[in-house]
Each structure stands twice: as C-alpha cells, then as structure tokens.
Amino acid sequence: MGTEKNRNERDLLNFLAGHPEEGRPAGSESAPETNASPAVEQSLDASPSPSAERASAESRASASAPEPARAPSKFAPLLAQLKNGLLTENPTFVQLLGMCPTLAVTTSVSNGIGMGLAATAVLIMSNLVISLLRKVIPSKVRIASYVTIIAGFVTMIDLLLQAFVPALSKSLGLFIPLIVVNCIILARAEAFASKNGPGRSALDGLSMGLGFTVALTLISAVRELLGAGTLLGYPVLGDRFEPATMMILPPGGFLVLGCLIALVQFIMQRKGAKK
C-alpha cells in the first residue's frame, strides 16, 4: 500500500483517464474494508478523475442539503452507489474512461446497447472475482492478474455472442476482444474491487456498466438519428429528412461525444453557479 509502484500505477490510470498531471495524494489509498455508508464515501474519494471528485462533492452537498433528516434505510447506500455509477461518476461523461469502444461502436443504437451490456457483464463478473481474490493476489503482480481474469471473461462473452447473436458479434467485431483493454474495467478493479467485498463490488460493476450502457445508448441515438434518420433501425424522421452520413462516420463520433461532454460540463457549471 502506498508504495512507489502503487503510485506509478495510479498515475497510469489517471493518465488513461486523460488527467496526467493530477495524482491523488498517496495516503488516500489505505482503505480498509468497511460495510456501511462510509464505504460509499470512500468509493467517491477513490475516483481517478478530479472532475468526478468535484461532481461527487457537489452531489453530496446537494443530497444532504434539502433533506437532512432522511430515515436511514437499508437500501440507501445501495441506491447511492447505483446513482453514483449512472450519474455523478458516469464512466464516459464524467470520468472520461473507455473512449475507444465509445467512439467506435456507437454508429447504431443496437450496437451501442450490445456493447454496453457486454461490457457490463464483464465488469460485474471481473469485479466479483477480483474482489473474492483480493487477499490472495500479491500486490506486485495484481495488474497482470486482473488483466488475465478480465481476458478470461471477455473470451467467454465473445464466444457466447458468437453463438447466440452472431449478427451483433459481427458488427461489433474487433471491439469485443478489445473489452480486455477497456480502461473502465481495469480502473474499477483497481479503484474499487481490490478494496471492497464481493457484493459491493458486483454492485459497483453493475452501476458502472449501466452508466456506460446509458452513455453509449445516448451517443448512438444521436448519431443514428442524425446520420441515418432512424432509431433501432426504424425510420423516425420521415422522408423529407436528408441524413447527414458524416455522423455515422468516424468524425461524427468525435463531434457528438465532444458536444455531449460539453453539455454535461455546462449543466454541472450551472449547478455549481446556483449554489
């Protein structure tokens, strides 16, 4: 814990998230297991991106301000964690992780949803297994072990898709095996599953995976609507609409994602200015 090696790998994840210069303070990693709501706070603190920390700090402030005397419910921390993955720490829009599949497969809504669900399945299983093995894996070889575990699950998903939905498997193509190197999965393994119990880790996998799926669906909906005038293959915008084919070509991917992230930042800045 807190060694030079750990720091390097954390920098690596920060780097991948596109924030090379900001490393977290070295002390923040010594996170023992806790079960109740403090763990949620911890998971928030363990986020690799400064913008996500800002967002989560905001959400914490806004959540506690309107109703300070909320009845302590057994499900509250679980819901908080789910919301965390879907909104406040959305892996695509806030943490900016896993850009390659995000841009490449969002040419149609069905591709986006398929990719999101495949990544979610891998994320849940790998988080679960890594969390179960977190005391067995020596910290020196943990990144390599994580990658091997993830690669195993990716191969399983790949074969399942080939067997049951060959059309989807064909259109996602290379990007199914490339889930292995999707930064979201490794980042969650390192930041969450290696420090928390199996139940919470699987839930974290689910919430992050759903956040990823929602983001992919949103991006692909915009691209398919503008680029082909359809949604899920059904014509929506009528005959008079001239499809802007550029939107489903590579430049459109960059453009739509850039605009959507700008929109998210705009909303967050508005929220920040109101307070």
Binding site: N8, E9, L12, F15, L16, A17, G18, H19, P20, L96, L97, G98, M99, C100, P101, L103, A104, I143, A144, V147, T148, A151, G152, V154, T155, D158, L159, L174, P177, L178, V180, V181, N182, C183, L186, M246, L249, P250, P251, G252, G253, F254, L255, L257, G258, C259, I261, A262, L263, Q265, F266, Q269
Partner: protein, 193 residues
C-alpha cells in the same frame, strides 16, 4: 513487394488506427497536450507494436494453431503483450539508458493501449504472413505517431485560445479530433490494389 507497400499506406493513411478505426484513443487524448510527449509516446508505440506483431504472430502460428487453441487468442495475446512490455522496459533500462529515459514513462501505459492488441488481432483476422504482420504493426504505429503529433500541434494552439467555458478541456479536444478525422477521411478516396 507491392502488397507490403499497400499494407503500409493503408495502415498509415487510409485506415489510420486512431482517426478512422478508433484504436488507441486513450493515449491519443491523454498524452497529446505537448508535442514532445506525443513524439515520445508515438515512438514507444511503434517500437512495441512492431515487436508485438512479430511475437503474437509466432505465438498464434506455433502454439495456438498447433494445439487448436484459437479461442484463447485474446488471453494469450494480452499476456504476451504485457510480458513484452515488461521485458522491453527492463532491456532498455540495461542496454539503452538514454532511450529508456526518453520512453520510460510511456512504456507501462502501452499494455492497456488497445491499438497494440488490436493490431495483433487484425493481423490474424486478415491472414497476414510474418513479414506482412510486422509491416502492418510498424506502419500502424507510424500512423499513430502521425495522428498524435498532428493533434498535439493543434492542441498546443488551442491552449492559447479563448474557448467558451463548457467546451474547455476535453470537448474542444474531441471536436478538433473530429476535424482532423474529417481530413483523414479524404484518404478514403485512394484506391489501392
């Protein structure tokens, strides 16, 4: 000989890994704030990608195909690449300290660069032989270097501009990448072979 040339031009320009195929976007966006670091990263990628193409081709041909284990491709390749990166790091440190100094911090990042695994998988998918695989790996790396260096030049200029607040940072980078990608779409008109 012409096939090799076609593969090279195809990988560098027409199907540029970053801007057309969306492989290796993370380092492309993460390490492109300055031209110097972009060149370092690009060179490290060329180096690793060439070696990993050669090695994964051999692993696939002499181990996986011999024992009918093709379904283990993903697992085997990522392990080969991770081991290779570690090995390159150690070898460079001992043999060429100057180069290690220059590339050092970028090497560990390459394990999770999907362009490297992507090129290994594409080699097998396209049925390239050994020479073609190496050429493809090398030129895909050159394509990456070209894209990241061009992009870092653009970003250095952008850093000095007055951009609307919501667009600062990532969004404007993505939009300029879109324009760069649009420019590379022009190479689609090249019909080869």
């Amino acid at each position: 000989m012409p096939t090799i040339l076609i593969i090279a031009i195809n990988a560098i320009l027409i199907e540029n890994f970053v801007l057309v195929k969306f492989l290796g976007i993370c380092p492309f966006l993460g390490v492109s704030k300055k031209t110097d670091t972009a060149i370092g990263m690009g060179c490290a990628v060329i180096f690793t990608m060439t070696l990993s193409s050669a090695l994964t081709w051999a692993v696939n041909r002499f181990i996986l195909e011999q024992f009918h284990l093709q379904y283990m491709q993903t697992v085997a390749f990522i392990l080969v690449i991770a081991a290779l990166v570690q090995f390159i790091e150690m070898a460079l440190q001992k043999l060429m300290p100057a180069l290690y100094q220059a590339l050092g911090i970028y090497l560990p990042l390459i394990t999770t660069n999907c362009a490297v695994l992507g090129s290994a998988l594409l080699n097998i998918q396209n049925g390239y032989n050994f020479i073609e695989s190496v050429v493809f790996g090398f030129s895909a790396g050159v394509g990456f270097l070209l894209a990241i260096v061009l992009f870092s030049g653009v970003r250095e200029r952008i850093a000095a501009c007055d951009i609307p607040k919501p667009f600062q940072g990532f969004p404007i980078a993505l939009i300029s990448a879109a324009l760069l990608s649009l420019a590379f779409m022009g190479f689609q008109g090249l019909k080869l072979g």
